[in-house]
């Protein structure tokens, strides 16, 4: 089967959602073409170029990923589903094993301090709504985690905690239900729908 015939066959399957007006226009043109015209059309198209355009188009949409973890100059940056935030912060606390944990909460009513927390888990469970919609800074000794709500987090690691970057990222993915062993110093992992896109350098 030639590439043109494969393409024609593929045309009978459901079309993917087109993210741009140009994509919609292309789909409309394709729908209106007669069989012979489609055969001619596929000879003109650079499929590699189209695929690159499709990828660029999907990446340029202002969608936020379901999962993100990436190294930063200060430590790590994260996006995860709200339902996993408490588990991840507890896991992070276990990895860092701080002597002292302090929290600083910023909401519509102002600012509140919670010093020398006995249990990070209890604090997080009592402030579940705050983690979802407000802004929280948690100090694990000298290292600092900020939560901007809905699973948007940034971690600045200090001192010996800086060695824990890959361990924290691995545990983060595990909390989200994924396994990956990081090998390089710098990396980013992003998941838009259901596939992890991993880059390491």
């Amino acid at each position: 089967m030639t590439r043109a015939e494969q393409s024609l066959k593929a045309d009978k399957s459901p079309q993917p959602d087109t993210a741009t007006e140009m994509g919609s226009a292309m789909a409309e043109i394709w729908r209106r073409l007669k069989w012979e015209e489609k055969r001619e059309f596929v000879r003109l198209v650079d499929w590699g170029e189209l695929e690159r355009a499709r990828q660029e188009s999907s990446q340029s949409q202002h969608w936020d990923p379901r999962i993100y973890v990436g190294t930063t100059p200060a430590g790590l940056s994260f996006e995860l589903l709200s339902e996993h935030v408490i588990d991840f912060v507890c896991t992070l606390s276990n990895v860092l094993s701080p002597r002292e944990i302090n929290a600083f909460v910023q909401d519509d009513e102002g600012y509140r301090e919670y010093d020398r927390l006995d249990s990070i888990k209890t604090f997080l469970q009592e402030h579940r709504d705050t983690l979802h919609k407000d802004y929280v800074m948690i100090e694990f000794d000298d290292s600092t985690l900020v939560s901007a709500g809905d699973g948007c987090l940034s971690l600045a690691l200090e001192g010996s905690h800086r060695q824990a970057v890959r361990i924290i990222a691995t545990r983060f993915l595990k909390v989200c239900g994924y396994e990956h062993e990081f090998r390089q110093e710098h990396f980013s992992v992003v998941m838009w729908k259901d596939t992890l896109e991993v880059k390491e350098w």
Binding site: Q59, S60, H62, W63, D64, P65, Y68, G70, T72, P73, A74, S77, F104, Q106, G110, Y111, E113, Y135, M137, T144, V146, A148, G149, D150, C152, S154, A156, S188, V190, K199
Partner: protein, 75 residues
């Protein structure tokens, strides 16, 4: 009375979060930038203007500058 030292540190942390988003391999949505980074920054700026001192403002600028120094600029 707000703890101004922690307010400065928290504000610098949200500025860092903003810088970090600019380094990601995708474009975060404008809504995400507004809600997760600019909103807490704006609230903190207002609080610092109301409750803070000139030293707090200087400390904040130093913190911002420190974060900027760590920024990986495109070559």
């Amino acid at each position: 009375m707000v703890n101004r030292r922690k307010l400065v540190k928290s504000t610098a942390s949200f500025f860092r979060l903003l810088l970090e988003h600019s380094q990601r391999g995708y474009e975060p949505s404008p809504e995400h930038i507004l809600k997760r980074m600019l909103a807490p920054l704006c609230q903190s700026f207002a609080e610092l203007l109301q409750e803070g001192t000139k030293n707090d403002a200087w400390d904040l600028l130093e913190s911002f500058s420190r974060e900027c120094g760590r920024l990986e600029r495109p070559g």
